[in-house]
Symmetry: C2
Subunit: 348 residues, 2 copies
DNA sequence: GAATGAATTGTTAGCGCTCACAATACGTCC
DNA sequence: GGACGTATTGTGAGCGCTAACAATTCATTC
């Protein structure tokens, strides 16, 4: 009769029951080759019978491996971070790792540091930091931690291995597309200044204009939210008829707000003003009108980040690849339908 | 001189350096009261100097506690699951627990079972399953696992402790609101049949109509995506002028698709057809027109789920509360602007 | 100044597993 | 049939920590 289930059975219990040594049980579980089929079968049967499961902590202590990675993220209900998170976990799982996540409301030096401490106490072997705010990135390089850290979305400048979608290129694609469609100038509604991605998108936008010998118009700022886009859209509406025909908005949510503000002001999209966004959230295709935007390949970001982190953990620091850049892709929809200057289009 | 940093320092190393026993170091770290201030200070200084951090696995092995919870979820890039996930992690962290997440593409008996195995091997003390698909819920009750499991979004029927937003009530709020606004009948675009939440929303919708002595019209089905909403919207457009004046859509994303289809068909919202959604995603307020919808309090869901799970883990099974229901809230916006029958409104 | 008790510190066993090595079993060859 | 090599199994020692208990210190009190 099995001992009462007060304590879950140990490997020794299984061994006793199967008439072998605990080491043999360990071999069976570890898929060691040198175990007689008969023995293996018997052990497996007893394991099944007793409902035995290896104790994680004991195993981790003996092997000095927890096979757990940490992720620090913020704004995880937004499409971008949520997608990255999903991709990271999936990639980690494929490599046999579990992922512990800490989701921050605000990413500051303090919260980041606290999150790393917490993950450290949780025994993670490495951490991915989805750290788009620049302040936090700087902290990352300073902070002492007993495990490797890979940054995502920090841009390549930080003194930390990182994986990034080429935001500047994405901005170039969108801006260039608008110029190619016939627009003389392209305005820009940017994200918050302390987000590296926002900065990079501004850079790409500005560079594209300058290369086309166009003076960049006034820069507007939002906070990624639809509401901030709406407010900026109201301001933009005032410039229609005074040279504003195209806007590149730094994310789709703000673009949604812009679209609504323009509509309310009687400005038609894309006839009067073309609008492009960034992110390709699932809703964009059904905006009024469907939104031209820039798609980021989050799955690749996840895979590359995990691969880089595991390299670091295993000590195979392929130093050359510690800065990974991924190309984004332009998705053209009705909101930037080719612009054709028409007489009589005098919006109010 | 400290030993070379090949291996991270252990508690014994710290103890030696500080001239105390390892147990005293343990006491300092565990905030035990009976340690002389002087001793505590010295130990803390040495810890700081050596950059010592307690070994998670050893601690977990000795205490038999990992202070880690598992979460199984699917569709984590959608607003609802992402918000729940965020709330869960935050609530768990507040209680001193770390969260390991497994995000599934599809939630089936197999993937769920695999996820639970994985989390089990990862040493979690309990699991929250965000399991909206009914097939998966049934599996939950069957599966053998060595830790308590709390289900979220499964409805209260499952044989598992669970936390739910009252979906049926949410549907009643939306449907009742449309009836009160003067609509004779309310149509419904439902979610997939195997999602409990979709079923409950249908139930609430139907009950509200029946209580008002209204024969429920034909039921439409989508898959939560904007595209499926768009397709359903095209179908709905065909019923305008034949008794269709109001639609309750089972989520905001599909509602977005419906809005677009109606617009394209020349049907005005809300003048010709009123539309209500469910979820209150951040974008809803900026749809064209802003969407009336039902808001779920995910933060509360998270807190209550964690509280319930911890009760189960600690063995204080307050059996009465093992089914928690949370009230949703109606958010009225322009898409259901009070309906006033007007002469001459002949859509089509 | 010896007795008493509380505060502080140290000692000893595990927690349940894996690793390195030792021991045994089994087959094969000459 | 004994020697050899290989497949299979067992043994002992930690991994680094906490819990329980034992030992010591220190201030009181009479």
């Amino acid at each position: 009769m099995a001992p009462s289930q007060l304590r879950p059975p140990t490997m020794a219990d299984v061994a006793r029951q199967a008439g072998v040594s605990h080491q043999t049980v360990s071999r069976v579980l570890g898929d060691h080759p040198n175990v007689r089929d008969e023995t293996r079968a018997k052990v497996l049967r007893v394991i099944e019978e007793m409902g035995y499961r290896r104790n994680f902590s004991a195993r981790a202590l003996a092997t000095r491996r927890t096979r757990t990675l940490g992720v620090v993220a913020s704004n995880t209900t937004l499409y971008g971070p949520a997608s990255t998170l999903f991709a990271l976990e999936e990639a980690a799982r494929a490599e046999g790792y579990l992922v512990s996540t800490v989701s921050l409301r605000r990413l500051t030096v303090e919260t980041l540091s606290e999150a790393l401490d917490r993950l450290s106490e949780g025994g993670v072997e490495g951490v991915i930091a989805i750290a788009a705010q620049r302040s936090a990135v700087e902290a990352l390089a300073e902070l002492r931690h007993p495990f490797p850290v890979v940054a995502v979305g920090t841009g390549s400048g930080a003194g930390v291995p990182s994986v990034n979608v080429d935001q500047s290129l994405g901005a170039r694609l969108a801006t260039g597309h608008l110029l190619a469609a016939g627009h003389r100038r392209v305005w820009h509604l940017a994200g918050p200044e302390d987000w590296q991605e926002a900065v990079d998108r501004v850079t790409g936008w500005r560079a594209t204009l300058e290369e086309a010998d166009v003076e960049p118009p006034m820069l507007l700022r939002g906070d990624w939210s639809p509401l901030s886009g709406y407010r900026a859209g109201q301001e933009l509406a005032g410039w229609v008829g005074r040279g504003l025909t195209a806007v590149f908005v730094a994310n789709d949510q703000m673009a949604l707000g812009v679209l609504r503000a323009l509509r309310e002001a009687g400005v038609r999209t894309p006839q009067d003003v073309a609008v492009a966004g960034f992110d390709d959230i699932p809703e964009s295709e059904f905006f009024a009108p469907p939104l031209t935007t820039v798609r980021q390949d989050f799955a690749t970001v996840g895979k590359r980040s995990i691969a880089l982190l595991l390299d670091l953990i295993e000590g195979r620091t392929s130093s050359g690849t510690s800065q990974v850049a991924i190309e984004p892709q332009l998705v053209v929809r009705a909101s930037t339908f080719p612009y054709l200057p028409q007489p009589g289009v005098a919006p109010g």
